[in-house]
Amino acid sequence: MSVDVLVLGLLGAILGLDVVSFPQAQISRPIVSATLGGAFMGNAGVGLVCGVLLELFAHETLPFGASRYPEWGSSSPIAGAAAAAGAAVGGVPMSLLFAVPFGLLTASIGGWSMVQMRQLNARMARKRLDALARGSARTVAGLQVAGATADLARSGAIAVIAALVALPTVRWIAVQPAPLAPYAMPMLAALGGAVAAGAAWKMFHSTSGTRWFGIAGLAVGTGLVMLLSR
């Protein structure tokens, strides 16, 4: 258990660093990071399902500069790992019904922690404005390293705390009898689909011609659904 938490903390720290500080390769996106978390717990497939659900929600939260947005890098791997840990001892739907909202909550807390860290970075920079104005290379590099280190520590701490809460909780929830469990996946899928479709409209509707592209895509998607659902 403690080794799992430590490794997940390290994974969350690295993936959390990717969100803004380095290298912004989007390994922090839920579809990647939750899958990695699930794979670490031995079930990449359940991690992927958790990641897809979180990814659907993530379309609504784009990482625009100074705005506050959920931080997926440290939260998604824990959600994916929790889903896989629950699936190992009990039912997948109830594990996901815990892991997905838990991932959203942790991402929200992560977003808040990023704002605090940026304020800390600002205080560090303010204290060193004179050195920056003198052209001190040491100060410039020092601020970069300090910022990245603080971000790594921040995301690692969030991931460790989240893992400490999520793993035992999901193992308890997954083995509880839940007659309504078959409704969990349709509910989560409907919520995710609604948020992603609404987000797509918000992102693209102001560009000319997108309506017809959307209708064409919907026709292709619906056609494939009918074909594959038989």
């Binding site: 784009l62 909202p101 590099a141 509910m187 609604a194 797509a200 292709v220």
Partner: protein, 269 residues
């Protein structure tokens, strides 16, 4: 950043020959670009990151690292700056060249200020509302048609980072080539028309991917169960669009998810 910067004497006229940038310096700048936001803060935003990225080029100034020209240039480049992180590479390349050409300090500072707006708005439309959602919806489409975890993850990362890395390196090259005339590069078809076509592709992919992803998520139960779930999602999407700007869907989902979890557990108890 109110303290005055040491004066620097221009060493060349604007019409001077293009200075050369050694491969090792170019490589150092390219690598540093990936950490440009490491000290992002509410005081100078990515200003320190710009200084950090330009610094290897400034070592080529007369007097070398630590010389008067170097320190003056680094002080200028570490002031407030705001732009999209990927498109900041245009600024880094252009500013490195301007400094090595010995452009007047006041001109560099004016140019630096003028670059912030365009690099921010173009980058947001091209990357955050273009490349990123497209790659994400493409990965969801693959998931929907039954691709494995490895395929979904690798396809997303390869597609996204092909665009991401190319944009950073191309920006650095264009910035270095054009120098203070880099504004002309911002009229490049990729930057001007790219966001429009990415939005169209994104809408198509969203339309195709969301129903397929939902279908695979409900997995089993056939067309009726998938149809009901999709109809519910469409109704929810319409509601979110109607309340656009007032309601955030992911926050509602968080509350709904936990409420359902409690209900499902209590239902048995």
């Amino acid at each position: 950043m109110t303290a005055s910067t040491p004066p620097v004497t221009p060493r060349a006229s604007p019409a001077a020959a293009m200075p050369s940038l050694p491969a090792s310096t170019r490589l150092a700048i390219s690598l540093r670009l990936f950490a440009i936001q490491a000290s992002w803060n509410y005081e100078i935003l990515i200003g320190n990151g710009i200084g950090f990225c330009v610094e290897p080029a400034l070592r080529l100034l007369p007097g070398g690292k630590g010389g008067e020209a170097y320190r003056a240039a680094l002080a200028r480049q570490s002031q407030y700056f705001n732009a999209h992180p990927y498109l900041s590479s245009f600024a880094v390349g252009a500013l490195a060249r301007a400094e090595l050409e010995g452009q007047p300090a006041a001109r560099i500072e004016r140019f630096r200020t003028a670059l912030c707006g365009p690099l921010g708005s173009v980058g947001d439309r091209l990357v955050w509302v273009g490349l990123l959602p497209i790659c994400s919806f493409a990965a969801l489409l693959l998931f929907g048609v039954g691709a494995s975890a490895v395929v979904c993850v690798l396809a997303f990362l390869l597609m996204y980072n092909a665009g991401h890395v190319a944009l950073r390196l191309w920006g650095l090259q264009m910035g270095w080539e054009k120098g203070l005339g880099v504004a002309t590069a911002l009229g490049h078809p990729i930057l001007r028309e790219g966001p429009v076509w990415l939005a169209r592709a994104g809408t198509f992919l969203a339309g195709a991917a969301v129903p397929l992803a939902v279908m695979r998520l409900v997995d089993g139960g056939g067309l009726a169960r998938t149809g009901v779930t999709l109809a519910t999602a469409a109704l929810g999407a319409n509601t979110l669009v109607l309340f656009h700007g007032r309601v955030e869907g992911w926050r509602l989902a968080l509350l709904a998810g936990f409420a359902a979890l409690v209900l499902f557990l209590l239902r048995h108890a």
